[in-house]
């Protein structure tokens, strides 16, 4: 599993629950170290152990943990760069949804060996969408739930999301747009740069 993904889990625990708990989880997962390198690759078994240990320590079901990680990726100050990169996808939430088809390619443009699952958005009506996640690594859908929820907030849109496990290799998120401009949302200055 790519270091960026492992490191995201690490930073999520560290930034939201503190470094002490992170050390405990790293130990419980028997990583043999407690600092992931963002630009290196790791054995997928390591990531599974890590998520298992984190879910136990944080007393969360696996899906809830993954969703929290997705929310953290977009809304925490330490991951502002990710929020900005996602915001380049569109000027409003619907345009952002449509940009998700390109997300794996966009990610690969930035980091060549970062492989994200294939995403496909279907538009059933101007307010109803569904996002299909094709992945061998179950759980991406749950992370995306968190990302979508936080991005909707970011754009100021009011949405209703539902997570459906279609098959072991296919997850689906049903999205209902209740109001596109429900709140002010957070600004996005093209010329600003995440620190």
């Amino acid at each position: 599993m790519h270091g960026l993904i492992n490191r995201t889990i690490q930073c999520f625990v560290r930034d939201t629950r503190g470094p002490a708990l992170w050390s405990e989880i790293a130990e419980a997962a028997e990583l043999g170290f407690d600092d992931f390198e963002a630009m290196l690759s790791y054995d997928p078994a390591l990531t599974r152990r890590l998520l298992g240990a984190a879910a136990v320590r944080l007393e969360l079901p696996q899906d809830a943990l993954l969703e929290d990680i997705g929310t953290y990726l977009v809304s925490h100050a330490n991951t502002e760069a990710v929020r900005r990169l996602l915001r380049f996808g569109g000027v409003d939430f619907v345009e952002f949804l449509h940009s998700l088809d390109d997300l794996p390619d966009r990610a690969r443009l930035a980091v060549e060996d970062l492989v994200l699952p294939r995403l496909e958005l279907s538009e059933h009506s101007p307010e109803r969408f569904s996002l299909t996640v094709q992945t061998k690594v179950q759980g991406f859908g749950a992370v995306l739930m968190g990302v979508l929820r936080a991005m909707a907030d970011d754009y100021g849109a009011l949405v209703f999301l539902e997570y459906v496990q279609d098959t072991p290799e296919r997850e689906r998120i049903d999205i209902q747009l209740i109001e596109a401009a429900y709140a002010e949302g957070r600004g996005f200055d093209l010329g600003a740069r995440a620190g």
Binding site: V91, V111, L190
Partner: protein, 368 residues
């Protein structure tokens, strides 16, 4: 009335064209036959919000940097199809790229303009947003890429820094002197501690090169390095495989002889090393001439040997050799400590004169 008609049609045409261009190229200008701006794209106008461009003379708003010396509309029309390098007059100074297409019947021209590489500055300077760019413009993708790549690069840079730190740490933990391939100070300390801990009988010889600084100063560091490598080879050749030969300082060496405490044998080893070191070493067209002073302590001279004490005593013996005229070997004797604390400067008696009468070349004396 009839005269007015083509002009009205022309104006309407310009307006239609303007609408079309607004969607496709929000950074365009349409010029009339005199070179005045009749229509300007919204994004381009945004760059000079206080200066309405419509009606102004194109070359008074924009400076044409390349091709140069274009001052009239006729000259401007000649550059049709060519990549134009432009600059907005006034501040902020923004570099622009453009291309001109003449309208039919000599009714003017359309110019499309883009930021080129100044995109990043322009987005910041003019607070541009996504809707300022045409849907097909790659500007937003370029901004995305720049940010994404910067973030990835930053992560890689941090990784490199950490790897560099790890490498320095690994070097600090290393046991080998990279220049000579001998053991380093750390390794020597380690072996010495082990010998003492095991209660072995052993000898510790401290060797200091004489006149080495002169080689370094006159022939340079490359010559110095060459000499050190030669010295290392000689020391390894003149000792047994079990002995530990270490470079512990610039031109300071320590040899630990495990199980060898016979004074005569140790003296022979020291003498052979000194003899071989004194053979001039060719370096390019120069000959490097050095020698060495040695001082040795034996573990059985102590009830409870201590590394620091043994090293200090070997050092005293070494300085006795130096004081006695260098290029020789001495065994430590307790009187040397008294000589030192007494600061009499007297040469202790334990020095073993080696081939008496031999002195280093006069001009090199006192270099160390």
């Amino acid at each position: 009335m009839n005269d007015m008609q083509p002009m009205e049609t022309g104006l309407r045409k310009a307006a239609d064209l303007g609408d079309l261009m607004e969607t496709l190229c929000p950074m365009h200008v349409i010029l009339d036959e005199t070179g005045h701006i009749v229509h300007v794209g919204a994004t381009l106008q945004k760059l000079r919000a206080d200066l309405p461009m419509q009606g102004a003379r194109f070359l008074e708003v924009f400076e044409l940097r390349r091709p140069r010396r274009v001052t009239t509309m006729d000259e401007l029309l000649k550059s049709a199809g060519v990549k134009l390098h432009l600059r907005l007059r006034g501040a902020p100074e923004t570099g622009l790229k453009g291309v001109l297409a003449p309208l039919s019947d000599g009714r003017g021209a359309v110019l499309n303009i883009g930021f080129g590489i100044s995109l990043l500055d322009a987005v910041r300077d003019y607070a541009l947003v996504s809707s300022d760019f045409a849907a097909t413009d790659l500007a937003i993708e370029m901004l995305y890429l720049v940010e994404a790549k910067s973030a990835a690069m930053e992560a890689s840079r941090k990784l490199n820094l950490r790897l560099q730190g790890a490498m320095i740490a690994a070097e600090e933990q290393a046991y080998t002197d990279t220049l000579t391939g001998l053991k380093n100070r750390r390794a020597m300390d380690h072996v010495l501690a082990r010998l003492i801990g095991r209660g072995s009988d052993f000898a510790l010889m401290q060797i200091d090169l004489d006149f080495f600084k002169a080689v370094n100063d006159t022939l340079g560091h490359a010559a110095g390095d060459h000499v050190l490598q030669n010295v290392a080879r000689i020391m390894v050749e003149e000792t047994r495989d079990d002995d530990t030969v270490a470079r512990v300082g610039g031109d300071e060496f320590v040899i630990l002889f495990d199980g060898l405490t016979e004074c005569a044998a140790l003296s022979r080893v020291a003498e052979r090393i000194i003899e071989k070191l004194e053979v001039p070493m060719p370096f390019g067209e120069h000959l490097c001439q050095i020698s060495a002073s040695c001082g040795t302590v034996l573990s059985q001279s102590y009830d409870a040997p201590e590394a620091a004490v043994m090293l200090a005593d070997a050092d005293l013996a070494l300085y006795a050799s130096k004081n006695a005229g260098r290029a020789q070997h001495s065994f430590f004797s307790p009187q040397m400590r008294e000589a030192k604390t007494g600061a009499t400067g007297a040469i202790p008696a334990a020095v073993e004169p080696r081939h008496a009468g031999k002195t280093p070349p006069k001009d090199r004396r006192g270099q160390r």
